[in-house]
């Protein structure tokens, strides 16, 4: 490590100065570049949490694949759940470039050392929930994820670009599920409205706590991992939702929503952050079920992974033998 010319000005190493310069110039950091340990840790935490969310996020919808109301809806839902598996894999790969292996990430998920988005701890009792998840949950996710395509860490930004391309179909298909219900019978309209009532607030909480209670946000923004604050993104989301709700003909369950001419944004009411922290602490509707199912799927699949590995090893050995005989 070379010392800088004037230690009175900075005690940073040359590596760190170069890192700062690249962040300042809006260049991307790549896996083998020097990076501060805290930057690496923050990224591992965020990317793995994001990957876990995609993988756990398959469950609330997987629940409806066999019960979807038509073959078309089944096929769409399967495609969406398959995308989520893919998104999880892109993100696990991105996290691995930071020097953590997948087994470790899996263990962190199972033991609760790593979190995933609390939204997936809510249950999906009705078909309309497939609509609400697409419209509200994926909508909030997209709002959050589009700026992440420009995250300062190259592999994360690239994974997010791929994910965002695929995610827009998710939101539209959800919107159209709700639209179809709203064009249906009274019972179908009631089902759609009841589902939106349940998902609206949890979807808004997906952006994380208010800025004043989100101490790590500032640092992530300085590192250009995050580009906008939690509250800014939440506001952007509400501004998009209100006109969409009008198209659907559903009511957003917040009487405080009203257009604020002065701000040029919709005002909206306070959220119940106690609920958010309760779910985060493991006391949501389905926390235990989600993790237990993930663990079981991993364990049930272990013989497949081992058998495939054994087959690959045997084939490789056979090729080596054939190679030796030929030479």
């Amino acid at each position: 490590m070379t010392a800088t010319a004037d230690p009175a000005v900075t005690d940073k190493s040359a590596d760190e100065l170069e890192f700062d310069r690249m962040i300042e110039a809006d260049l991307r950091i790549e896996p083998r570049d020097w990076m501060p340990e805290a930057y690496r840790k923050t990224l591992i935490r965020q990317i793995s949490q994001h990957a876990h969310s995609e993988i756990i996020g398959m469950q609330p919808e997987g629940n409806w694949i066999t019960r979807a109301p038509s073959l078309k809806r089944k096929a769409i839902l399967m495609a969406k759940v398959q995308d989520e598996a893919g998104h999880g894999l892109y993100l696990y790969s991105a996290a691995q470039t930071l020097g953590i292996d997948r087994e470790t990430m899996f263990e962190q998920l199972i033991t609760g050392a790593a979190k995933y988005s609390s939204i997936f701890n809510y249950t999906t009792p009705t078909w309309a929930d497939m609509g609400s998840i697409g419209w509200l949950v994926d909508g909030a996710a997209i709002c959050n994820q589009v700026p992440l395509c420009r995250a300062s860490y190259g592999p994360y930004g690239r994974a997010m670009t791929r994910i965002c391309k695929e995610e827009s179909f998710h939101q539209r298909q959800g919107f159209e599920i709700l639209l179809e219900l709203m064009r249906g019978t009274d019972a179908q309209r009631a089902m759609a409205q009841e589902s939106v009532n349940r998902w609206y607030a949890p979807a808004l909480m997906m952006f994380g706590p208010p800025d004043e209670d989100s101490p790590n946000s500032q640092r992530s923004m300085a590192w250009k991992i995050k580009r906008f604050s939690n509250d800014d993104l939440r506001q952007r989301f509400v501004d998009m939702l209100v006109p969409q709700a009008e198209v659907l003909g559903v009511t957003l369950p917040d009487p405080a929503i009203s257009w604020n001419e002065e701000r040029g944004h919709y005002d909206f009411g306070d959220l119940d952050w106690n609920e958010f922290y309760e779910v985060l602490a493991g006391r949501g509707q389905a926390n235990a079920v989600r993790v237990a199912r993930r663990k079981k799927a991993h364990e049930d699949g272990s013989w497949v992974r081992e058998a495939a590995r054994a087959y690959a090893d045997r084939e490789a050995a056979a090729r080596d033998d054939a190679g030796r005989m030929a030479s």
Binding site: G86, T97, R305, A308
Partner: protein, 102 residues
């Protein structure tokens, strides 16, 4: 030398890097990585993971551990040769600027 994307160690399956040709006439471009027990499964997994929307007409996979890369700590020296050799670019030649078809 470590390979890009290889976090080593505990995985049951090795890591593969995936390259996709998006249409005829274009090069294969790095799409991402995945785990697979062997090259046959790696190609199949790559199809499922990276071409669900007809993004490719051809796939290459290579074991991450088989990739050798330039040394990131020496990138300054390693890539300094073109510095100051602007004459390798057409834009260096100003006298001919207004001449047609040059």
């Amino acid at each position: 030398m470590t390979s890009p994307g290889d976090s080593g160690g505990r995985e049951t399956w090795p890591l593969w890097e995936v390259f996709i040709r998006s249409s005829r006439g274009l090069s294969h471009v790095h799409a991402g990585s995945l785990h697979a027990p062997d090259e046959t499964m790696a190609v199949r997994n790559a199809r499922d993971l990276y071409t669900r929307r007809a993004e490719g007409v051809s796939i290459w996979v290579v074991r991450a551990s088989d990739i050798t890369s330039s040394d990131p700590d020496a990138k300054g020296e390693f890539f300094e040769s073109p510095q100051g050799k602007e004459y390798r670019h057409a834009t260096y030649y100003k006298e001919s600027e207004a001449v047609p078809h040059l």
